[in-house]
Amino acid sequence: MSIIKSLYRDKVGMVMLTLLTLMAVIIPACNQVFPEGHTFHISTFTMTLLGKYLCYALLALSVDLVWGYLGILSLGHGAFFGLGGYAMGMYLMRQIGDRGVYGNPLLPDFMVFLNWQELPWFWHGFNWFAFAMLMVMLAPAALAFIFGWFAFKSRVTGVYLSIITQAMTYALLLAFFRNEMGFGGNNGLTDFKDILGFSLQNDATKAGLFMASAIALILGYISCRYITQSKLGRVCTAIRDQESRVRFLGYRVEHAKLFIFTFSAVLAGIAGALYVPQVGIINPTEFSPLNSIEIVIWVAVGGRATLYGAVAGALVVNYAKSYLTAAFPDAWLFGLGALFILVTLFLPQGISGGITALFKKKEAR
């Protein structure tokens, strides 16, 4: 009941959710029903690309939840995304079974040719989908919980917190690069064959993954909106604006922070898990600090503390990136760089803030 109420107030969100639902139905349908060459056909390439953007949008949503509503600028959300992705990747690796190039039924290829004799302990269990899905959420949640537990208890805030989240993802980047870790080193996990018995090369599977991403984004959006509209959400906004006052009023600030931070990490993990089968590879560069900064920038471009802004920002920036790399391969960094500078200077509330302001002006007239 309260969910519906919280959604009802969010008009832009409602529009966006409707659009997303339509997308989730129409795009796979167009891809599957209409043959290639038909006016209404949407190519698998476009669909997978959009599916990737939707994963990014979910990731941006998770960042907006902690940054927009809690004031924590996380420069390390790529770490949670990556962990979720690796959990999914490990499941997909185990699904290959003896179809790897060495035909080893137990060990993934990269372990065979580095002479590993047995499966490391942390790889056990990943042949079950349910266990893998549990780890998709649990691994990022655990990291976020432990990290947050220390950080929020000792009241690390502001830029310091940003920098140590950056240190966290950087440490993971270095760790996953090591081949001894048993995650495939720089090459990461790749050459996936199928998921739940469906071939990943199959267009229908891809349509299914696209739908799953859209649904995950919709559910993620609804839960984020519910949280921000709840009492907890208002406490969070208060923490963002005046942390010490909230503390004086008797709220356990660190508990609220810890819950939101961990929840956001789970969202990021799910985004990563959906991302991996669609792009076909997970490797340590997902942990790179620059990637995490980019996520923050999607949110900033879209407009923070709005949730729908984050989704829009992720879609717009990534579309621009795809377009610019194809159209102006030599100069796309100029465009991207300029976008960040211009948005922070002239649209401090992001695109969505800019549009809202425009509407308000009109209404005032």
Binding site: T48, F177, N186, A204
Partner: protein
């Protein structure tokens, strides 16, 4: 439901195949994809290869193109981002309908695009030396496999220089790991004791080499002739060689033989401290042959600079491109299946004055050259194999792959055939 999905996919696939060949027939040009990073960390090496391809395509067009049609290059920038490689590969094949793609540098980028090329049944020409342990129906490996670079280099050091102690230093990723595994097994088979092999891995872009160079110096001061076999990648090389020079390690006391340092990399290094260190490649710019002189001249003219150098991966693209052209002309079509059949056995001139052939395992034959770095950034060739080496997809020195062979000729048509169990693995 499941059945229906399968039917639609099957229909989609045939439709796709038909449209690819149809569009290739109907269009005025034949599209060729170039998949090299133009930004990000790998842009350093890959931009040159993009230009090389543009030049080769340009020259082919001046000769009248292929099958009476002009070639059209489609350039995309995967920005050194591995998932983006897969996305851009899809874009090239599905959207741009290219008939063959020349690209990738790092192993991870190749691994990332591999499923795409197999799924779409398109062709990739991969021009860089790599770790082996792969043979795909859709990929042609025109760079060196470990037996075309690493093993001959070690042989040279062992027999000609009399090296008894070995430092295997590399960046921690799959190429050095595999190469060093192979070399370790090879050296042990040659009777080198485990205590005389030191293995060291460093992260990408490692810049502080003080401790490691000091260790190498200590390791080399224990009385036996020592050499370093370096699989250190790109950016980490400059600080590595600088530190070697400063700590007084010269080529005559501890020579370093590198597999990833070529003319292009040397053009960004102050070569003074490097003189005399070695590199093993299948081509050097200093190779004395007419075809090489012509290639250098047209390259410098194309790029409008007399200072630009040529290097081994460029030669690999030169060979790969010419092989593709010849195979397409032989097959009379750009259709992937037909070209795959036609290209095996195709022989084209390489730049060192001989000929390279495409083998049934999709690797090519190459000579192996060892060169010493000169102070002008060029290599003086000090040794070379008497004949050509055949690229070996599966190393004989690794436990998992010694029984595997690759042969893409019918009826075997298998990339990883186990001769003991008589099974073909790695297929769906």
């Amino acid at each position: 439901m499941k059945l229906k999905k399968k039917v639609t996919t099957a229909l989609g696939m045939t439709a796709l195949a038909v449209t690819i060949s149809a569009s290739a027939m109907a269009a005025d040009t034949i599209k060729v994809g170039i998949l090299h990073s133009l930004s990000g960390t790998m842009a350093i090496s890959e931009t040159t290869l993009k230009d090389t391809m543009l030049m080769l395509i340009d020259e082919q067009n001046k000769k009248g193109g292929v099958l009476g049609k002009k070639l059209e290059a489609v350039v995309v920038d995967p920005a050194s981002n591995w998932p983006l490689f897969a996305e851009k590969a899809k874009e090239l094949i599905e959207k741009e309908k290219v008939v063959a793609t020349f690209g990738c540098w790092t192993s991870v980028s190749r691994k990332s695009v591999l499923p795409v090329f197999e799924e779409q049944n398109s062709l990739l020409f991969y021009p860089v030396q790599y770790e082996g342990e792969e043979s795909s129906r859709n990929v042609f490996y025109t760079g060196a496999a470990p037996n075309q670079q690493a093993i001959p280099a070690v042989d040279y050091l062992m027999t000609e220089i009399g090296v008894k102690r070995w430092v295997l230093a590399g960046t921690d990723y799959v190429y050095p790991r595999t190469t060093n595994k192979i070399l370790e097994a090879y050296l042990k088979a040659k009777g080198v004791a485990a205590a005389d092999i030191m293995i060291n891995y460093t992260p990408f872009g490692h810049s502080d080499w003080q401790s490691i160079v000091a260790d190498i110096k200590k390791f080399g001061s224990e009385g036996k002739k020592t050499a370093v076999v370096s699989t250190i990648n790109g950016d980490a090389n400059v600080p590595f060689y600088k530190e070697l020079g400063n700590q007084g390690i010269t080529a005559d006391n501890i020579p370093v033989v590198a597999f990833s340092v070529g003319e292009e990399e040397l053009s960004g290094i102050d070569t003074k401290p490097l003189v005399g260190h070695l590199a093993a490649w299948n081509y050097f710019m200093s190779v004395d042959s007419e075809v090489n002189d012509a290639f250098i001249e047209s390259w410098q003219k194309f790029i409008k600079s007399e200072n630009r150098v040529t290097n081994d991966p460029m030669e690999a693209h030169y060979i790969g491109f010419n092989m593709w052209v010849k195979a397409v002309e032989k097959a009379g079509t750009t259709d992937a299946e037909a070209v795959q059949d036609a290209i095996i056995g195709v022989t084209v001139p390489n730049l060192s004055g001989g000929y390279s052939a495409m083998m049934p395992n999709h690797h090519i034959t190459k000579p192996v050259l060892i060169g010493e770095i000169q102070d002008d950034g060029q290599f003086e060739i000090v040794w070379q194999t008497s004949g050509l080496e055949v690229g070996d997809a599966w190393s004989d020195y690794l436990e998992g792959s010694k029984d595997l062979i690759s042969d893409w000729r019918k009826p075997l048509s298998c990339g990883a055939y186990n001769v003991v169990t008589a099974k073909c693995s790695g297929t769906n």
